[in-house]
Symmetry: C2
Subunit: 542 residues, 2 copies
């Protein structure tokens, strides 16, 4: 027997309709590519999103056709979030930090039909447009007057002229809530990029759960600064959660330096900011150098990579700002865990609270997780056992766009590629990447732990631990080390340095001194390349 | 094109599974009918909910069969919430405050198969069991030892013996999220009671939205006391939101007096309590008489009826507790609006904040509302225009169980039976019940406004305003008044008292002095009965 409740599909258009009716006067402030601050309301956003929908209908795009963006965080990008998905098309956010060849490959793979871009990315568009076979329309996110006379892009139109010609009356269509709403490509370390294809249902459920007090905690009393880019996993869903709750939104546009971000926080009375550690490092540097304080910022969510304890302490102790670690993936919409405290932690000493805060956090309702050993057996949540981390839930992918890479799921669970512990209170902590962990004699050795010890030696500038095949132990760790300029340390000295700092069997079998560790575009160590470089290496005693 | 996200139906069993895995150590404390305090954890709750499911399976109930409860707020009732709905049966919470004849009628209409009851309700069971034709099993929520030797109920078993014999291993079944999960009958003022039939989907969406910071704001840092009964609209969804977030739960059982509630709040460090004004009145009375303070309570949600300004002030100013008005209906699961403030209100003077707080509040995402005039035309949100309030959303009914009363919807909207204003910020305020408002010359007169003015006269004990048919104006208001013992006031004096306090056309045409106003079981004025009493009344000048 079915319940007798009203049938309303969970559609992204419901967010903007709700925002207009229930907090239409809420503010949205954007620093523009043009340099100025633009401000308007959710009511304006709703009207212009409907103009976007009419403009897209005018291009005769089919249901689920892809509309791509190459844009900073700002109100026009936000209008595309609602106008494109709301009208039944798929919003495809392209990452401007990729190489033009990758952007071309991705746009062709996605079969994008329209590309809307901020003028600061015109050089990228010039580099890619000849290779993008499916894109029929290029739209520059500016006024007609700002359009260069000869952009070199055939048929280029300005966004303002494009949507300005449209009515702001539009009936949002109703369709299956499982329809695709948006997509984002992962920057896979191996092979071609693969796309997560989000649905309206997954987006709404993620926005609801993401706004909970134990997640990002979004309300009409908040003023939110998403520094995390809208071109990367929908800015952690903040644009959707904001429209759902009426939080004031503040967008930084292209000005991501410490001074600009600090001034935006103070000028707009931001209460909550979200971003990756590097942005906060720049901002804290600017504040320290100029002896500045926050007057309104209460909390910041840090994700993308682990936050150094020193930064958590600086935010907490020096500036009185609560730091929340968050963890997720493109394949997870992206929110998986947020490190909010429990009732039982509130009376803890600050040092003990910090220990909790260093972990990646607890699963939000909707996300289940487990850690498993080599055989797939679930490991205990004791904070010590570590294994491959798997997740499942309604905003986690079941597969990639066009079936690329086959089915990623294992018995319905998505393998994250991370190795983690989970403690009895449900707090997860990443210890390594699965592909980097060393499997020695049936036990696992965290490459990160091995590297951290080497990095603590005063003569070491950088260290990378990799596993080498071993006939008896399967694998044994070695550590590749770059010495600091002018500093001296021998192999035996460094191996001796490990004594007493870790279990004997976790000490690497060898140290290899190298001039440099290969790094990727985002500064991450490329251990695959390091392994190639050391392909002729033989472990001592073999 | 569909998105490529995992397919997980929104089922109530997912709440208890999540609770066990992610905050299994969270506490649940219950004052029992036995008088003592019982405490255990979400992990225990999950195990015993699975025992309930096995016990129900053992009775060979079919999918969607109804299992009824007649119980206070407590852990056993909570186990039935999860065990009954999770196993695919429908939880039917009976209201012990109804007359036994009504309970019998409702149990027969619902076709309940099992009835689980607290021992304090044994007299009700004795009165109804002969008339309840479909109930095959009676379960007393107690130990086997507490079962009376001769209860008079054939085949009566104890809950602990019943579920104690079961394994706590159980695979929650997966089924359509639109399946019925639970039901609650409204105490309609006219005709037979009608039942709202909730679904798993509506319950989960309601629990998510209800836990948002702009609604009840539930987190793992909260300790929640639901004083609002679990036999009435699922205790505003708090049991579900608590399992979702890991909030500590504290249940008052049958001890609803001011002293017991106060001691529970202090003893268990409650941060958040929810209930109707009368309960808080008793508690504040106890606190004032004994000069007591709160040490942990931070906020209280008040619903069921409007909260007197004096109570809001007492909580806020004297005890430092934030009061949130909430409004909803059985037909709405029940949450519709909660009166949380917006960013723009935070710097307001306390008196101006109080004006906002007196309203019923803003719609939660998922609930849309509108006010319409007699012709169904939508009225502006200006805080002045008032009209019939209609709502729609995924946790609002589309119809009643067994189609009783036909389709209640008007163009997809559910008419609440309330008359309200909505201001430009989206704050709704109830001004009257639709059936009580007086329609005079195309304009509406709030019967409550007319009554409030009369009640402000020192000689008036009670006042009830009703509309009388009028050939020119359709209706004109008169006010029936009960004088205070020994007090004197004439018709003309009272009519003169209205001058300057309201518009001339809103002043009642007449005053009728009566000995008493008919009241219902819950203390509400029964204007239908008053109209019957005055059926021979003729307006002056007609």
């Amino acid at each position: 027997m079915l319940g007798l409740m009203q049938n309303h599909p969970l559609l992204i258009s419901s967010l903007i309709t709700f925002a207009e009716r229930h907090h239409g006067e809420g503010e949205i402030v954007s620093r523009r590519v043009e340099g100025d601050l633009h401000r308007y309301t959710y009511k304006d956003l709703a009207a212009r999103s409907r103009q976007v929908a009419n403009a897209i209908d005018g291009l005769k795009l089919g249901f689920s056709d892809r509309v791509a963006t190459l844009a900073w965080n700002g109100y026009r990008h936000l209008e595309l979030y609602f106008g494109v998905s709301g009208s039944g098309r798929v919003l495809h956010t392209l990452n401007p930090r990729l190489h033009p060849d990758q952007i071309t490959w991705i746009a062709n793979h996605a079969e994008d039909t329209v590309l809307c871009f901020d003028m600061s990315f015109l050089p990228i568009i010039k580099a890619v447009h000849a290779g993008c076979k499916t894109i029929r329309h290029y739209v520059a996110l500016c006024d007609a007057a700002q359009l260069p006379a000869d952009s070199g892009i055939p048929g280029l139109i300005s966004y303002e002229a494009w949507i300005g010609a449209q009515s702001d009356a539009y009936e949002w269509p109703e369709f299956d809530e499982n329809s695709a709403s948006s997509m984002c490509y992962t920057s896979g370390t191996t092979g071609n990029p693969k796309a997560a294809l989000y649905s309206h249902r997954s987006t709404i459920l993620h926005a609801l759960a993401g706004a909970l007090p134990d997640a990002l905690s979004m309300s009409a009393r908040d003023c939110v600064l998403p520094v995390v880019p809208m071109f990367h996993v929908n800015a952690w869903g903040l644009p959707y959660s904001a429209a759902m709750t009426g939080a004031k939104l503040v967008f930084p546009g292209p000005a991501m330096d410490g001074k600009s971000i600090y001034e935006l926080i103070e000028g707009e009375k931001v209460s909550f900011a979200a971003g990756v550690p590097t942005v906060w490092q720049m901002m804290l540097g600017h504040m320290q150098a100029n002896n500045l304080r926050f007057s309104t910022l209460k909390r910041t969510v840090i994700g993308g990579s682990a936050c150094p304890p020193a930064m958590i302490n600086a935010f907490n102790d020096v500036y009185g700002v609560e730091v929340l670690h968050a963890w997720g993936m493109t394949e997870m919409s992206p929110l998986g865990t947020v490190c909010t405290l429990k009732n039982k932690h509130l009376d803890m000493a600050p040092a003990d609270k910090l220990k909790v805060r260093l972990k990646q956090g607890r699963g939000i309702y909707g996300v289940d997780m487990k850690i498993v050993d080599d055989t797939g057996k679930e490991l205990p949540w004791d904070g010590k056992a570590y294994g491959d981390l798997l997740v499942k839930g309604p905003w986690i992918i079941s597969g990639y766009f066009k079936g690329e890479g086959g089915s990623p799921l294992v018995d319905g669970w998505f393998p994250t590629g991370d190795v983690a512990t989970i403690d009895p209170d449900g707090y997860m902590q990443i210890t390594d990447r699965s592909k980097d962990v060393i499997k020695s004699g049936g036990e696992w050795i965290s490459s990160i732990d091995v590297e951290n010890i080497a990095m603590a030696h005063p003569a070491v500038a950088m260290a990378a631990c990799i596993g080498m095949k071993h006939p008896k132990w399967d694998e044994r760790p070695i550590v590749a080390v770059v010495r600091k300029p002018g500093a001296e340390v021998t192999r035996d000295e460094l191996l001796a340095f490990y004594e007493g700092k870790t279990a004997k069997w976790q000490i690497p079998d060898d140290v290899v001194f190298v001039d440099a560790i290969p790094l990727g575009a985002t500064g991450k160590m490329q251990k695959m390349k390091l392994r190639e470089q050391l392909k002729d290496y033989v472990l001592p005693g073999l």
